[in-house]
């Protein structure tokens, strides 16, 4: 493995080092990267012919385009200025646990396939192992820069899904402890059953709605366009962790509502009809759906943008003062009936239920709305009136 040259990427302010290494050297590093990094994209199925062709080309000694790796900033061992790093120090950082593949994952999988194919043919395998590869490594990228480079490099055949991009952004929270809150991914196969448990995907969607002040959150091209904002957010985030605040605040709200509605449960209703459609059987089920989380995110984002609220601390204080504003059961049924009406008539049920929740939370936390401010019953009714007028 040797360093060929070093260039500076001024857009993401990072040093890019070009290496030449043998396929053997690369495969040893890459094997662990693909195994251990849960956020590395998975193998793409269905393009087998292209990759078969590539395997054959590799056997003939073809040179493949450089594979692009990155070292995450937290793995840089507090190096303040990578530009001044000596070659030995750079080489010492080239370890699987420090690296992520930005571009070339599918090529890497193809290499593994070929190595596997040749395992009983030592001569050919050694020939392949000796073949050189060009590898670029970005030194010390933060999450935003990783995402930015992944997106801009990723213009080929297998683009990354929006969900994947968003999950990369917030991946740290999956393992982080947030007071009384657990986030689960779909692959965890964990049934969300109690207050404090959330689907990671739904929470990230809700947080994006907060950032974008829109129930639908950010789309792929906007994500690229908004990279500047995300960088600003990353800076802001260092002093006040917005994602953490967002989910803690929301969880406080659910706990408060559950207490206010005295742990209401549809299945204990006197005229309980198992076949009746209800949006959720209890407060927890109603408010952990993505429609509610995104509605909350968008509403708080809008209120903050309009300077009606200052920050999440203000909302947390307000949550303590929320009242039901009428008969508990009647109010919860008002909410379920509104959601049911939307289901019956809306062109896109999920979207319009998000819009409704957006109105609901905006009414609830907008101090200029005297009938519904911190009054959940009033907010439920006013939100539906607004919904009918505006939609």
């Amino acid at each position: 493995m040797k360093i060929i040259n070093k260039l500076n990427d001024k857009r993401i302010q990072a040093l890019n080092v070009l290496f030449e290494m043998s396929i053997k050297e690369y495969s040893e590093i890459a094997h662990s990267i693909t195994k251990d990094n849960e956020y590395q994209r998975k193998r793409v199925k269905g393009s087998s012919t292209v990759y078969k062709l590539l395997r054959e080309d590799l056997r003939l000694g073809c040179l493949i385009p450089p594979i692009v790796l990155a070292i995450r900033i937290e793995k840089m061992q507090k190096v303040l200025n990578p530009d001044s790093m000596k070659d030995e120090a750079i080489l010492a950082l080239i370890k699987p646990e420090n690296l992520i593949i930005l571009d070339g994952l599918q090529r890497t999988f193809t290499l593994f396939d070929l190595i596997n194919e040749l395992k009983n043919n030592k001569e050919d395998l050694n020939k392949l192992y000796d073949h050189p590869l060009r590898i670029e490594v970005y030194m010390g990228l933060n999450k935003i820069a990783i995402l930015y480079r992944m997106l801009t490099l990723n213009t080929g055949q297998t683009p990354m899904s929006i969900r994947h991009q968003i999950e990369i952004l917030y991946s740290d929270y999956l393992s982080a402890q947030i007071e009384g809150i657990s986030l689960y991914r779909e692959v965890d196969n964990k049934k969300i059953t109690k207050i404090g448990d959330y689907s990671f995907k739904d929470v990230t969607e809700g947080f994006n709605s907060y950032l974008d002040r829109d129930e639908l959150g950010i789309n792929r091209s906007e994500l690229l366009e908004n990279i500047q904002n995300l960088e600003t957010l990353a800076n802001e985030n260092e002093s006040s962790d917005l994602f953490r605040q967002y989910i803690i605040t929301y969880n406080n709200l659910i706990k408060k509502l559950d207490a206010l509605f005295e742990k209401w449960d549809f299945t204990t209703e006197s005229d309980y009809d198992k076949n009746k459609y209800v949006f959720g059987n209890n407060i927890f089920e109603i408010f952990t759906k993505s429609q509610a989380l995104t509605g909350f995110g968008a509403a708080i984002g809008k209120l903050k943008f309009n300077l009606i609220i200052t920050d999440f601390d203000a909302i947390n204080k307000a949550i303590e003062k929320i009242t039901v504003g009428g008969d508990n059961k009647k109010i919860i049924w008002d909410l379920l009936n509104c959601l049911d009406e939307i289901k019956l008539k809306a062109k896109n049920i999920g979207y319009y239920q998000r819009i409704y929740f957006g109105y609901l939370f905006k009414e609830l936390f907008n101090k200029n709305e005297t009938e519904s401010y911190l009054n959940i019953g009033g907010a439920i009714q006013n939100a539906y009136k607004l919904y009918k007028i505006k939609v």
């Binding site: 199925k45 269905g46 393009s47 012919t49 292209v50 080929g156 055949q157 297998t158 683009p159 899904s161 929006i162 639908l216 959150g217 950010i218 789309n219 792929r220 459609y277 289901k343 019956l344 008539k345 809306a346 062109k347 896109n348 049920i349 999920g350 979207y351 239920q353």
Partner: protein, 365 residues
């Protein structure tokens, strides 16, 4: 059709589809170019019992695109289900009431694939992208969300000589149209229905090409006067048929010497006037119509005539109401004040339904 490539000469139609079950996606590609493909997300539970070649889809439009408007379609003469009708958004959501119904899901699974393979409008797509069938701003979507999908089981309609054109009047009653229209002033009798029961045009009317022209194009005319004339042609068509049929019947009676020349002449004179034949249409040739449609028409006519100070309480039956309206529109359209024109719009909307009702119930004696 969905195409890959921008050069019209070299672009390739996507004509093959494979399910990637683990990922709940379809891979769509050209059968001679397996290297390039797109993937399309499928969010509904997979029920893959049915084969696409056994089904056919038709694309329609509606002014009511509620995601939950998902119905079984019953063919009236067969008295059984021949397929389903639903808005395209129902294929991209698990929030509607049929999202766990295996009967619907089997059809949805097939419709989804047929839609991808048989899109009527040419659509340019980007290789390698992941799409949704429809979607909001955050998603790459392949189709506009204003389509109604009508999927039919070919085997079930085999004996019917099934042709969508024959069913356009009947589908119109349920707010399903051949063309895209916005804000149409429809009479909403379809609301609250549990199933869509479609009915073929009577065989005696199938060769009337004007009817297809009407339901595919002319009925969407916006000017009330023009629309009335175009619709009134249905009445003209039917009463002409009545005249011919009545003359034939009399000629037969004459031939069989059941009547004689003078009576023959008197009888013809008796039913030849337009109002008399309209009476026969309502009372003899198409007398088993839908009461709601007919009552609604009378109500709208009364409202209009009252607004025009022409209401005559002695004229009660529907044929006379129609004739009064016809006379007013033909002779006095210019006297309708601008601010009352919407009242005429209501009459014409209910007249559309009446025309369909007359057509579907028409039979010669």
């Amino acid at each position: 059709m969905l195409y890959l490539g921008y050069d019209p000469e070299y672009r390739k139609r996507l004509d093959k589809i494979d399910l990637m079950k683990d990922e709940s996606k379809f891979k769509v590609y050209n059968s001679y170019d397996t290297l390039r493909s797109i993937t399309v997300n499928y969010v509904l539970p997979i029920e893959s019992d049915y084969k696409i070649e056994d089904y056919k889809i038709y694309l329609l439009y509606s002014t009511d695109m509620s995601e939950n408007r998902i119905y079984q379609v019953i063919e009236k003469s067969l008295k059984k289900r021949i397929g389903w009708i639903f808005p395209i958004n129902a294929l991209n959501s698990t929030l509607h009431t049929e999202s766990n119904n295996p009967h619907f899901l089997k059809y949805a699974f097939v419709a989804f694939q047929l839609l991808l393979l048989n899109q009527l409008k040419d659509t340019q797509i980007e290789v390698g992208n992941n799409y949704n069938i429809t979607g909001l701003k955050r998603e790459n979507s392949l189709f506009e969300d204003n389509l109604i999908i009508f999927i039919v089981n070919k085997a079930l309609v085999k004996g019917l000589n099934f042709n969508l054109d024959y069913y356009l009047p009947s589908l119109y009653l349920y707010n399903y149209f051949y063309q895209y229209i916005e804000n149409y002033n429809n009479f909403d009798i379809y609301k609250g229905c549990k199933r869509v029961v479609i009915e073929k045009l009577p065989n005696i009317l199938i060769s009337e090409s004007y009817l297809y022209e009407l339901f595919k194009e002319l009925i969407f005319e916006k000017h009330y006067l023009v629309r009335f004339y175009l619709l009134y042609q249905v009445v003209e068509l039917l009463i002409e048929k009545i005249l011919n049929n009545e003359i034939l019947k009399l000629a037969n009676q004459l031939k069989e010497k059941e009547i004689f020349t003078r009576e023959f002449k008197d009888k013809i004179t008796n039913f030849e006037p337009e109002d008399k034949r309209i009476g026969k249409l309502f009372n003899e040739y198409s007398n088993k119509g839908n009461n709601i449609i007919r009552k609604n028409f009378i109500e709208k006519c009364n409202n209009f005539l009252t607004n025009m100070n022409r209401y005559n309480k002695d004229i009660k039956n529907i044929e006379k109401k129609l004739y009064s309206i016809r006379n007013f529109i033909v002779h006095d359209y210019r006297s309708i004040p601008k601010d009352k024109i919407n009242v005429l719009g209501d009459v014409i909307s209910s007249f559309e339904y009446l025309c369909i009702d007359l057509l579907l119930n028409y039979k010669e004696l």
